[in-house]
């Protein structure tokens, strides 16, 4: 019997190691797998590269992981945060590296990694700093820049429902980066609000098929904070 549901957070995050690249789902306060981030913090691993839309909000999750000095580099679209200054302090002090990526390019680079695409040409960023040092060519009359797939060792994902095959659904704007990140990592770990029976999610309504998921841990934490 396939059973991707693991009994503890320690089982969920086992194998995450120093220096790994981690895709971290969530946008704003919604769809953040903060309990998995805490699990990785508790492992004590360091020199991590974290790919996330924001460089940590609030005091928990990624913000705490950075504050503890575990993150070597952030790849994100919008490092500023209204309710956290941890990243900016570390960045000004030269204690953390930053790679800024346009949000659509970041999403597409992650999707590319999951879909076996090595790189792609996009008009986003052409004629800006984002294209410096990158190949630019004209395709169908438009200048486009080559962007590469963004792979990772680990993806941390928050889902609404999960079954033992790892099929997932997401709630409203909690979907965001979670489904594409689930496809792009060697090890995809999910914290799910609800564990459901196999077959409870209608096959037309599965948002992330289990093929992309390695482990699921039940974290019924409730609603995101306002």
């Amino acid at each position: 019997m396939i059973n991707k549901i693991v009994p503890s957070m320690a089982d969920a995050v086992a194998g995450v190691k120093d220096g790994m690249t981690i895709l971290l789902g969530g946008f704003g306060s919604v769809g953040q797998p903060n309990h998995l981030v805490q699990g990785v913090i508790d492992l004590g691993v360091k020199d991590l590269v974290v790919v996330a839309n924001n460089a940590g909000g609030g005091q928990a999750g990624l913000a705490l992981m950075m504050e503890l000095g575990r993150v070597r580099k952030i790849i994100c679209t919008f490092p500023r945060s209204a309710n956290s200054t941890i990243f900016e302090e570390l960045y000004r002090a030269g204690k953390i590296e930053l790679e800024i990526v346009p949000q659509g390019t970041m999403a597409e680079r992650i999707r590319a990694a999951g879909a076996g695409i090595g790189g792609f040409y996009t008009a986003t960023g052409v004629g800006t700093k984002m294209a410096e040092g990158k190949e630019v060519r004209e395709i169908d009359g438009r200048m486009m820049v080559l962007e590469k797939a963004l792979h990772a060792e680990v993806a941390l994902v928050e889902a609404w429902e999960a079954d033992r095959w790892g099929n997932l659904t997401f709630r409203k704007s909690g979907r965001n980066f979670n489904p594409i990140m689930a496809t792009a990592a060697a090890l995809t770990i999910v914290q799910a609000q609800h564990i459901v029976e196999l077959g409870d999610i209608p096959p037309e309504h599965v948002m992330t098929p289990g093929i992309f998921v390695d482990r699921v841990v039940h974290v019924p934490y409730g609603d995101p904070a306002f």
Binding site: P79, S173, I180
Partner: protein, 219 residues
């Protein structure tokens, strides 16, 4: 009264209201964080405009009362929003496929500078030593069918934001089609900025005096 004291430049809400007049029913529209977001308040619900947010929300409705906020439903500005009947959720790659694939009829952004050739600078200022934040601005500027900018006409220290050439790092070259400011509405044409509307009492001389780039007038 002379012409100057007669002039009533638009405030930020009036600018949003003026822009909203130009958004017809049926358009798919992304409104950037800040002033652009207020445009939605001036599009009546019965004029069906479908608002998109980068974080995978299509078909946003009005802001909820505090008591009715859904903790699972935010926009790209991290504000709580509502969903209209006919709305849909997608993941980030699909959301940006809408943007980058040219499916949005309109994107409205704020800006630090817009140049007469349509260049836009809205994500980083050269003086700023803190971490720059680009978000989805470059994707929106390069991807939407039309990019309109809504911004104060002048900086706080009195410099024109409609410029001959951008000083700040570009968000996208040649992307802006139209600019809404306190003084009027400016189309970006092959000949530079063309004024197509002026705020009440604002004269041609007045707006040209406040603007770095040369203007032509259709009003």
């Amino acid at each position: 009264m002379d012409a100057v004291t007669d002039a009533k430049p638009w405030n930020r809400l009036q600018m949003a209201e003026r822009l909203a007049v130009d958004v017809p029913e049926g358009w798919y529209v992304n409104l950037g964080i800040g002033m652009p977001t207020t445009v939605a308040d001036y599009v009546p619900l019965e004029r069906e405009v479908v608002f998109h947010s980068e974080n995978g929300v299509l078909g946003m409705g009005p802001k909820p009362a505090d008591a009715d906020r859904d903790p699972w439903l935010i926009n790209a500005g991290k504000q709580h929003v509502t969903m209209r009947p006919g709305g849909s959720y997608v993941h980030h790659a699909d959301s940006f496929a809408m943007i980058r694939g040219g499916h949005l009829d309109l994107c409205v952004l704020g800006a630090f500078e817009v140049a007469e050739n349509g260049d836009i600078a809205n994500w980083a200022t050269s003086e700023n030593d803190s971490a720059p934040a680009v978000g989805g601005a470059m994707d929106l500027a390069a991807g939407a069918k039309r990019l309109w900018v809504i911004m104060d006409h002048m900086t706080k220290d009195g410099r024109s934001k409609l410029v001959r050439k951008c000083d700040y790092p570009l968000t996208a070259p040649g992307a802006v089609k139209r600019v809404y400011t306190n003084y009027g509405v400016f189309d970006v044409t092959p000949d530079g900025f063309t004024v197509i509307d002026l705020a009440p009492g604002v004269t041609r001389d007045m707006v040209q005096a406040k603007t770095d780039a040369p203007l032509t007038f259709k009003v």
